[in-house]
């Protein structure tokens, strides 16, 4: 809200500078965002919180300043000219819940013209465009008193009967801005007989607009229901200074005063005759009564204020109070719609006493050791692991581009197709919620690679969301994921080793899995449709797929806008809900043997269906307590090997817990192991 300082000074005696006043208002909860000089005046821009509709005026701000300083406000006086004894119009309220009070006055014989300079300037400083003297006065009084007003061209009102009610069925109505709008049955209208002339509290109609040839007006000052105005205005997408104030609640006892103030100003500026005021106020206004216990004030705020002090502070907001030893009876003033209960009054006490005067005091707490969250610890350790392996952490918006998910060629029954859709996205590219981190990571990869960065190693730990597509589940499934992307330019690597990038990344993952000590998982060929089928793997833990890693399929890479030569894009994604939750396995020390070991190598030729992991598992399944460790030390296919065969070399460590083994004993066991292996796998021994 823009508020000229000189206008404020008409309502309260101020000796302090605009800067000092701005500070006082800010510290009382009326945040002055900026204060700018303009000629001999200063304009405050006040950011009012939605609860303080009462301050949306010069009067309201002056009242607030008076409460802060303990001074009184002075409302400029005026004298209404004598009026015509007839009102020339009748008013009826059809729905008392939606309209608590409706006052109005006909002014005849007026002259519509340009407003005087002083009026134009006040409006301009307040950010409102001048139109003509009539409309300008309604705006001026709204700014001054906080009461929205509307002037109808009286000549266009034909029935002499104003009615406030909702329509029986949807109708079309053209507002002042020339737009035809659909009015539904729950929107409150002002009717001239059976013809709608305004949307109550939101905007008037084009037909009854005050124009140059208007000679009489009907001036409306009413109190409409805040929720109703808000619903109507948001459904129509039509916000006005008027609806803004009604939504926040206006002072029902101020309706007639504002009407008189506007009538006075119009008669001053446009001449004419004032007719008798109409004022329909069907239900008697009863001020809200609140009981405020002194002890509660002190208990909530952590202060020790006397009853007298509290009484003084509360009276400053204009409330009538009565002291009953240990509590205060408060009659809330009509303009403070926000004060409903004692907590609201406690806030008033704190505010006017000054937050800065409430001394900080550390809470007294029971000391409890909190259980450490294993999942959080694990996520922390994954984060550190990935960083120390050279991956940088990224954070992306949780949105997903529908085109990017299409790029992944997912099967039609893949749950990652079940993305949550946002009704009002900012951009089409951000209309889905992520079901996988892959699309964002590919975008990050492209962004960095296309800017000349040749080592791009990224990871992200964020949630993905899968719509369950069941009515009973209103919320989607959320699960925490670790995702990563890797692209390192081969030609500019210092250490030209020949390790496939798949294994470089898999090594990073394997190390992470070891660190998490989640037990034995297995790798198997991946079926992810966007990965290279021969160079990708899924990690299976128990019976569940915990994640995948692999080289991006060449046809997907082709579709991305990235010129990658002789290097591979590696992706991975893991479900952290699976890999960070170890089922409270007891961590117990296991004894190791202190006796010497004997080692033997085995080299076998196997068919390609057999993976190194299969053979290792086979060796481990061989029943001998003497096998201490088995490792793969050779993997080869090509020259000197029969076509279509793979040569695998294993190293076996034998060791006993209770004695030193002899070569003879181990020769026996080892030969038996070889026999077992060859029989089970159909492998040949390589000489």
């Amino acid at each position: 809200m823009l508020l000229p300082f000189n206008w404020l000074k008409e309502f309260i005696k101020i000796r302090k500078s605009p800067g000092e006043i701005a500070d006082m208002l800010t510290m009382a909860g009326l945040e002055v965002e900026s204060s700018e000089g303009s000629g001999d005046d200063t304009v405050f821009d006040i950011d009012l919180t939605p609860n303080r509709g009462d301050c949306l005026s010069v009067l309201g701000t002056a009242r607030e300043l008076a409460a802060v300083t303990g001074k009184n406000i002075k409302i400029p006086r005026f004298r209404l000219p004598s009026e015509d004894k007839r009102s020339w119009i009748r008013v009826s309220i059809g729905d008392r819940d939606l309209c608590a009070r409706y006052a109005g006055r006909v002014l005849k014989g007026i002259k519509v013209e340009e407003s005087p300079a002083w009026l134009k300037k006040r409006l301009e400083l307040s950010g409102i465009r001048s139109i003509n003297n009539i409309v300008d006065v309604t705006n001026y009084v709204m700014l001054e008193y906080g009461q929205p007003l509307h002037a109808f061209d009286f000549g266009k009102l034909v029935s002499g009967q104003i009615c406030v009610s909702t329509p029986d069925k949807s109708i079309r109505f053209t507002t002042l801005d020339g737009i035809e709008r659909l009015i539904t049955g729950d929107m409150l209208l002002i009717w001239d007989g059976n013809k709608p002339v305004a949307i109550a509290g939101v905007m008037g109609g084009l037909e009854s607009e005050v124009g140059e040839d208007t000679t009489g007006i009907f001036l409306e000052s009413a109190c409409f229901n805040p929720s109703s105005v808000r619903r109507t205005s948001s459904e129509l997408g039509l916000k006005s200074e008027s609806s803004f104030r009604f939504e926040r609640g206006i002072d029902v006892l101020n309706v007639d005063k504002a009407l008189d103030r506007a009538s006075f100003l119009i008669s001053e500026l446009a001449g004419g005759v004032l007719c008798k005021r109409v004022d329909v106020f069907p239900r008697k206004y009863r001020p809200r009564q609140v009981k405020l216990e002194y002890a509660k004030v002190n208990n909530i705020l952590g202060v020790n204020l006397s009853g007298t002090k509290i009484q003084d502070l509360i009276s400053r907001i204009g409330a009538r109070v009565e002291d009953f030893d240990d509590y205060l009876h408060v009659e809330v003033p009509s303009y403070r719609n926000d004060i409903e209960n004692d907590f609201d009054l406690i806030e008033e006490v704190a505010r006017l006493y000054g937050y800065h005067r409430i001394a900080s005091s550390a809470p007294v707490i029971r000391v409890d050791a909190l259980p450490k969250s294993k999942v959080r610890e694990n996520i922390k350790s994954i984060r550190n692991h990935m960083c120390s392996r050279g991956y940088s952490e990224v954070i992306n918006f949780s949105f997903m581009n529908p085109d990017m998910i299409r790029l992944l060629n997912l099967d039609s029954d893949d749950p990652r197709n079940n993305a949550v859709r946002i009704l009002n996205p900012l951009r089409q590219e951000e209309s889905l919620v992520r079901t996988t981190l892959v699309p964002s990571l590919l975008e990050n990869l492209g962004y960095n690679f296309n800017r000349g960065i040749r080592t791009v190693k990224l990871f992200e730990i964020s949630k993905v969301f899968i719509d369950k597509r069941q009515k009973s589940d209103k919320l989607p499934g959320e699960s925490m994921r670790l995702g990563g992307a890797y692209l390192v330019d081969r030609t500019h690597r210092l250490w030209k080793d020949n390790v496939d990038d798949f294994f470089v990344v898999k090594g990073d993952i394997d190390a992470m899995i070891k660190k998490l000590t989640i037990g034995n998982g297995l790798w198997k060929r991946s079926s992810e449709p966007f990965l290279h089928p021969g160079r990708s793997a899924d990690f299976i833990l128990g019976n569940r797929k915990a994640g995948f890693t692999g080289i991006l399929s060449p046809d997907v890479l082709h579709l991305l806008d990235m010129k990658v030569h002789n290097s591979d894009v590696v992706l991975f994604e893991f479900d952290l809900d699976i890999i960070t939750v170890n089922k409270d396995r007891k961590h117990v020390y296991k004894q190791f043997s202190r006796f010497p070991f004997i080692q033997r190598d085995i080299s076998v030729l196997v068919d390609p269906e057999w993976s190194a992991q299969d053979i290792l598992e086979l060796v481990k399944s061989y029943k001998s307590k003497l096998i201490d460790e088995v490792t793969v030390f050779d993997y080869y296919s090509g020259k000197n090997i029969p076509d279509g065969k793979i040569s695998l070399g294993f190293n076996v460590h034998y060791r006993a817990y209770d004695r030193t083994l002899s070569d003879e004993e181990i020769d026996g066991v080892h030969n038996d192991l070889i026999g077992f292996l060859l029989k089970k796998s159909g492998a040949q021994l390589r000489q």
């Binding site: 009382a28 939605p50 619903r231 208990n299 952590g302 949780s398 009704l423 800017r451 990224l458 990871f459």
Partner: protein, 337 residues
């Protein structure tokens, strides 16, 4: 005994020519081996008259010792020369970086989130979580933000449908936790939140940390103390902190918390819009209406709640002047953290 002199001369000549340890080994066997010259001489003593034997034996043994010594000394010399050569040959440029020496950067948001969480853990707060796609009920209604209330204007909401929204703040976690547990409560809830808003100073997703403390005797003075203590830890102990009245539907009284501008030290600059203060936190005493929503007795329990934006704190801590940098994920930015 001229033979011995001759032999000594001949040995020294051979020794001079020996260049590596294998040649020295040959010399050793030639002179001192089982069939070596010295061994031969010693054997020949038996054919000598007994009277001459001691003197001759002494001389032969002296020569044997001499040869042995010379061989050992020479061997040592050759050894060190050989090692030297090997060392020279194996020398590398030690200034090259080792493979895998590059470490990745932490995202500054995640770094500051961890720091904030750790500070609160050190003050005895637990850590809770809640869904990011949330029911309208938890995000608004239960927090005293009814459907037709102007307070909804404070947050531009992404809607999934009539009942479901992308959560606009971390405050719904308060309600979820209170529904499940009884006081005393002391926890924070960090996480992502969403607003339908994107411009130079807003991103549609950002991070918040919510906090809640509920017990039988929690006061506004406690709220001030906890938040001051936190701000002094996350910034510096001499950072000025001020509380001013504000409005949040779920707290009453509500307070906005400002810190003295860390750029101009309070004298006024562009960042603080010349006020000398920077808004950093929203807070307040839990509104009894929220307590009633979750079935707590507001006459028995009081509490405070607060919420802060992590992007804002991160920008202040690292002097980052554009919020959009956080979500471009440019490695030249991330690599600095």
């Amino acid at each position: 005994m001229d033979d011995l002199k001759e032999l000594r001369k001949q040995f020294l000549l051979h020794l001079g020519r020996a260049e590596d340890s294998s040649q020295l080994q040959n010399l050793r066997s030639r002179y001192l081996g089982k069939k070596g010259e010295i061994t031969g001489l010693l054997k020949s003593l038996t054919s000598m008259p007994p009277a001459d034997r001691p003197a001759a034996g002494k001389e032969i043994n002296e020569l044997k010792d001499f040869i042995e010594n010379q061989l050992n000394r020479h061997l040592q010399k050759i050894h060190s020369r050989e090692i030297e050569g090997r060392i020279q040959k194996e020398s590398i440029d030690v200034t090259l970086p080792g493979p895998g020496s590059e470490i990745g950067g932490r995202h500054p948001i995640s770094l500051v989130l961890d720091e904030v969480i750790d500070i609160f853990i050190s003050m005895g707060f637990g850590v809770e979580e809640g869904p990011e796609i949330e029911l309208d009920f938890y995000n608004f209604e239960a927090l005293n933000i009814p459907r037709d209330h102007p307070a909804r204007d404070m947050q531009d909401t992404f809607y999934i449908n009539d009942e479901v929204v992308m959560r606009t703040h971390t405050s719904p976690v308060q309600v979820r936790v209170m529904q499940q547990r009884k006081p005393p409560l002391r926890f924070i809830a960090p996480g992502k939140v969403y607003r339908c808003d994107a411009d130079i100073s807003h991103t549609p997703m950002f991070h918040q940390v919510e906090g809640l403390m509920v017990d039988t005797n929690i006061t506004f003075a406690n709220l001030k103390s906890v938040l001051e203590s936190f701000l002094h830890s996350v910034f510096t102990p001499d950072t000025p902190v001020r509380f001013r009245p504000s409005y949040f539907p779920f707290t009453e009284p509500s307070a906005e918390v400002d810190i003295g501008c860390i750029f101009c030290k309070g004298s006024g600059c562009r960042i603080c819009k010349t006020t000398g203060w920077i808004e950093i936190l929203g807070s307040g005493m839990v509104n009894p209406k929220v307590f009633k929503m979750v079935g707590y007795n507001p006459r028995k329990y009081t509490g405070f709640a607060f919420g802060m934006g992590i992007e804002r704190i991160t920008m202040l801590k690292y002097g980052i002047d554009d919020i959009r940098l956080f979500y471009e994920n440019d490695l030249r930015f991330l690599g600095q953290f």
